[in-house]
């Protein structure tokens, strides 16, 4: 709780500071509308990150290092944590091929993409399937975060800076689950 509060204070302070003193645009990441469905004792969550990679990420994805975008999904029912899953969307770039290698861990897929726009689209998309017994109510928390990267033994740069240190989060509460 204290951690969440301090995080809110820091991001609030940085947002205010940037509004007053900085011309930096950055990104304003947030999760789009989320689809949740139960299919034969499985939960399927489908969502997308919006406004997350449009500014300042092209050069970062092209720097020749694997960049991991971390996603975390927690599903609980009446205060009981049913499961907590962390997975990554990893981007790597081949300069000679001018292509991005994208690995989507939750989908167990690997793609080779040459278009920047398509990369953003795929990297932002979450299609998560997990086994789940039928419950009366569900609370789903989704969040995304960026790693820190280090160049030539210098201090690490926290890529969350490009999101203005705001962690995109989404909470979905489902009272009655309709099986499909």
């Amino acid at each position: 709780m204290f951690g969440a509060l301090s995080q809110k204070i820091i991001t609030g302070f940085i947002s205010l500071s940037m509004m007053l003193f900085s011309s930096y645009e950055g990104n304003e990441p947030r999760f789009a509308d989320t689809d949740v469905s139960l299919i034969e004792n499985n939960i399927f969550i489908q969502t997308r990150l919006e406004n997350a990679f449009e500014n300042d990420f092209e050069r970062i994805f092209q720097l020749g290092k694997a960049i991991d975008i971390r996603f975390k999904i927690e599903v609980s029912s009446e205060e009981d944590l049913l499961f907590s899953e962390t997975f990554f969307h990893t981007v790597n770039y081949d300069p000679l091929e001018s292509a991005y290698f994208l690995e989507l861990q939750e989908r167990k897929e690997t793609m080779v993409i040459s278009s920047w726009q398509k990369l953003i689209k795929e990297i932002s998309k979450i299609e998560f399937l997990h086994r789940l017994e039928k419950k009366k109510s569900l609370k789903i928390n989704i969040e995304a975060s960026l790693p820190a990267i280090q160049f030539n033994d210098e201090k690490a740069h926290d890529l969350m800076m490009l999101w203005k240190f705001k962690t995109p989060k989404k909470m979905i509460i489902i009272q009655e689950i309709n099986e499909t």
Binding site: F13, I14, L16, S17, M18, L20, F21, S22, S23, Y24, G26, D56, R59, I60, Q62, L63, G64, K65, Y93, D94, P95, L96, F151, E154, H157, M161, L162, K164
Partner: protein, 389 residues
């Protein structure tokens, strides 16, 4: 060790110790970031030579990939450094701004709060409460100011006590002198009368019987004067508390002047108004002033009594065209035992002043020697004039 901070030195200390290093630190941060960017840009130029490499073998490709990655890495780092500079410098400036505002607000409070307190206690001193002492804390200058204020209030308290004591002493001395004189005045004729009676009783009994009634009358008269003096003194000395009621002052004045009108010319201008005043005190005030006016006037002189009202006050004036009061005497007429009358006690007008004061009214006097004397009493109007006791 207690740190003694002077106000000016505190401001200078804060400026040099906090604000200036903050600005220097910020400047340093900008310089470091700029130099980093410049360094990275230098490296970028070296990597631009990539286009000249002919990728024939796999080894060349690997080399090229390595160089391109290196190029991209440097460009990315430059960009991240730039973003970092923008974000952190903004946060840093905000932090400085918040701290500066906080410190100056605190200083403002530390200065303004004691001054406000000082202003409040000065007002209390003005009301005559010299017992107030301030806690000597805060900046050294503020502490010194509070210390001076405390010394001043202590001194004022001592001086006030001395003044009260001196006034009491002077009053008792004057009182003793006047009382001795006033008692002595009737005692002399009493003594002389008794001596005369003794003398005649021994030498001429027939004459004794002849003068006895007249001499006894003188003795009785002087004893009555002594009794009157004792009664007036007693009235003046005792604590009086007003028992206020709402009444029409014109009615009471009419009753008072009825007994005088047979022998004196009294012109009265009444008013339809009411006052909240002690009835007995009002009677004493009017009879005292009227008696003085009669004593000062010739038989045919006119005495004018007038009552007027406005929205706030009722004004009573008693004007006589008698011998008047000199400018020197007018300053003392309300002081106890000041009199110019041969048979006066000097307590009449002092009692009038006392009664006016305890009823929250005001009394003024105007006079021209051998022309007139006018006493004016201003009484606040009753808020509830419909009640008449």
């Amino acid at each position: 060790m207690k740190l003694k901070l002077r106000f000016r030195s505190t401001i200078i200390f804060l400026f040099i110790g906090l604000y200036l290093p903050s600005l220097l630190l910020m400047n340093y941060y900008f310089n470091v970031q700029n130099s980093k960017i410049a360094e990275k840009i230098g490296r970028v130029r070296l990597n631009e030579t990539l286009s000249e490499i002919d990728l024939v073998t796999q080894k060349d490709s690997l080399l090229a990939r390595k160089l391109i990655n290196n190029y991209n890495e440097n460009i990315a780092e430059i960009e991240l450094n730039q973003h970092e500079t923008k974000i952190y410098s903004a946060a840093f400036l905000s932090l400085i701004m918040i701290i500066t505002i906080g410190i100056f607000s605190l200083i403002f409070y530390l200065i303004s709060h004691p001054l406000k307190k000082l202003q409040m206690v000065t007002a209390k001193i003005g009301e005559g409460d010299f017992s107030i002492q301030l806690k000597e804390d805060g900046f050294q200058e503020i502490r010194a100011l509070k210390g001076s204020f405390n010394s001043m209030s202590q001194e004022l308290d001592k001086i006030q006590k001395k003044l009260i004591q001196a006034e009491k002493d002077a009053m008792w001395k004057g009182l003793s002198r006047i009382l001795a004189h006033e008692i002595k005045n009737p005692l002399t004729p009493i003594q002389l009368s008794i001596q005369r009676l003794e003398e005649k009783y021994e030498l001429d009994k027939e004459k004794f019987l002849q003068i006895f009634p007249e001499t006894a009358n003188i003795i009785n008269q002087e004893i009555a004067n002594l009794q009157n003096l004792a009664k007036t003194f007693s009235n003046f000395a005792k604590n009086i508390y007003p028992e206020k009621s709402i009444f029409n002052p014109s009615k009471m004045i009419k009753e008072i002047i009825t007994s005088y009108e047979k022998n004196f010319q009294i012109k009265f201008q009444p008013c339809d108004c009411k006052i909240d005043f002690d009835r007995t005190h009002f009677y004493q005030i009017v009879t005292n002033i009227l008696q003085n006016a009669i004593d000062a006037s010739q038989k045919n002189d006119e005495i004018e009594i007038k009552i007027q009202k406005n929205e706030q006050v009722v004004k009573l004036s008693i004007l006589d065209h008698g011998k008047g009061i000199s400018k020197e005497d007018i300053k003392q007429i309300f002081e106890p035992y000041f009199t110019k009358k041969r048979k006066g006690t000097g307590l009449g007008l002092a009692l009038v002043k006392k009664l006016v004061d305890i009823n929250n009214a005001e009394i003024f006097v105007q006079s021209e020697l051998n022309e007139f004397t006018k006493f004016m009493i201003t009484i606040k109007r009753s808020k509830n004039e419909s009640i008449d006791h």
